[in-house]
């Protein structure tokens, strides 16, 4: 996600957002997501790969226990909810420089990570 994009944590896509777009967002997202499947099941985990150009487009993920990779066809996905914490949020170099500048201005020690 770029600095200018809205946060996706907690995002539940509206029904009119195309699935390919939702998958792309999930692929860029650095947190767990929940796939609601067409058969009524749900699968939560980290979506690390997708191929929309394959003969049968698919996504790949590791589930919340780290098991995988699990491959699921686009055709089997109803929607994707962004249920996990975004591990990239607020962790950019620019955000770090900003926090450091604030600490300096307030006479506080440099924040450590």
């Amino acid at each position: 996600m770029t600095e200018t994009e809205p946060p996706y944590e907690g995002w539940v896509p509206a029904p009119d957002v195309p699935l390919t777009e939702v998958v792309d967002r999930a692929f860029d997202y650095r947190g767990n997501v929940t796939l609601d499947l067409c058969d009524g099941n749900a699968l939560t985990g980290y979506l690390f790969n997708r191929d929309a150009r394959a003969r049968e487009p698919f996504v790949q993920m590791f589930d919340a226990a780290g098991e995988g990779p699990i491959t699921i066809g686009y055709a089997d996905i109803r929607t994707i909810r962004f249920t996990g914490k975004d591990t990239a949020a607020g962790n950019s170099y620019a955000a770090w420089l900003e926090r450091k500048a604030v600490a300096k201005a307030e006479g506080l020690p440099t924040p450590q990570r």
Binding site: N49, Q60, K85, Y93, A94, W96, R113
Partner: protein
């Protein structure tokens, strides 16, 4: 230059062999990431921004070795994550050395002294610790977001050198780096006894107008020119002199995104070490099915416009060296005279 002759010979014969066979695309260095876990949390580091279940995972040694065989590159760089947190790093390195692969173990060195004292590694011409050092004490500690790490790393370098290991440093430099202080840093690293240093500009991507891209490149050239102009004889760089000339704006290279392919928990990363646009299941699939023409500065891809990073451009410099008499002559002259 600080690359041992046996390593130069291995790389030269490998590249010439590929060229004689007419192989258009070949890998030079495999970037093998056995884990993403790290004991630092450097600001902006995308490698560690994953949910807990991913950070807990790592590749098996067997899977790593299969990837090494599949790829066939003569050099293997092990970044991460922090490879010294990989429980099987000792066995992995032994297996790679036994296969005569030149291994660069890229580490922040926090655990290095402890692992050396525990006898995890044996000195070998095939093994080099590539210690992350992003500049002088203050700059490095700021880059890794923790005070005191420069001193820990410097101490570990001394210990590794004392024990007879090959040690290099790798420095990623961002906008705002003080080039004159970096010259002092090069002196400090040579004083520590390292075999050679590696430098590269960091990767940044922001959507910007053409003029801003142009200015960014000009700033990078200026930084590296000021830093590397009239290099001291004692400075040794563990990289192609032509790549350094490229950083100084004296030579132009296009990106070779397949030059340093990356393998990790997710598979073979497309298209390169820096961009993450998907994963291939096999090395062959990566090489055959990636739309390579869509990457590199010439392609017009916005994400590649400012990139001058070593993983794409050093392989270009090496290919130029062994692909033409002119490139070979330029490399020999720069190596022999030390002039960039």
């Amino acid at each position: 230059m600080a690359v041992p002759l046996s390593q130069m010979w291995t790389v030269a014969t490998y590249v010439l062999g590929r060229r004689l066979r007419g192989t258009k695309r070949y890998p030079l260095v495999l970037m093998l990431e056995p884990l993403f876990r790290c004991n630092l949390a450097c600001a902006g580091c995308g490698k560690i921004q994953y949910p807990a279940q991913i950070l807990k995972k790592h590749l098996t040694v067997e899977r790593c070795l299969e990837a090494v065989e599949e790829c066939g590159a003569p050099m293997v760089s092990i970044p991460g994550g922090e490879p010294l947190m990989y429980p099987d790093i000792s066995r992995l390195v032994k297996e790679l050395v036994a296969r005569k692969k030149y291994v660069y173990l890229c580490t922040n060195a926090i655990l290095l002294k402890e692992k050396l004292e525990a006898g995890w590694f044996t000195p070998s011409k095939y093994l080099s610790f590539s210690v992350h050092m992003d500049g002088p004490r203050e700059a490095h500690d700021e880059a890794v977001c923790r005070d005191g790490i420069y001193d820990v790393a410097a101490d570990a370098i001394r210990e590794a050198v004392k024990r007879g290991f090959r040690v290099t440093t790798n420095s990623t430099l961002f906008d705002g780096t003080d080039p004159l202080r970096m010259r002092g840093f090069f002196d400090d690293m040579m004083d520590l006894g390292v075999e050679g240093m590696m430098v590269s500009p960091g990767y940044s991507y922001t959507k910007a107008p053409d003029q801003e891209h142009f200015l960014r490149r000009q700033r990078s050239f200026e930084l590296f020119r000021t830093m590397l102009e009239r290099p001291k004889k004692r400075w040794k760089f563990n990289q192609s002199p032509l790549f350094l000339r490229f950083l100084m704006g004296k030579q132009n290279f296009e990106c070779t995104p397949w030059g340093n392919p990356t393998y990790n928990l997710f598979g073979w990363q497309r298209p390169c070490y820096l961009l993450q646009e998907g994963y291939a299941a096999t090395f062959k699939e990566l090489m055959d099915d990636t739309a390579w023409d869509g990457y590199g500065r010439k392609s017009g891809n916005e994400k590649c416009r400012d990139c001058m990073v070593h993983c794409g451009h050093e392989p270009s410099a090496v290919d130029y060296t062994f692909g033409s008499w002119r490139g070979f002559r330029e490399t020999v002259v720069a190596t022999m005279t030390g002039k960039l």
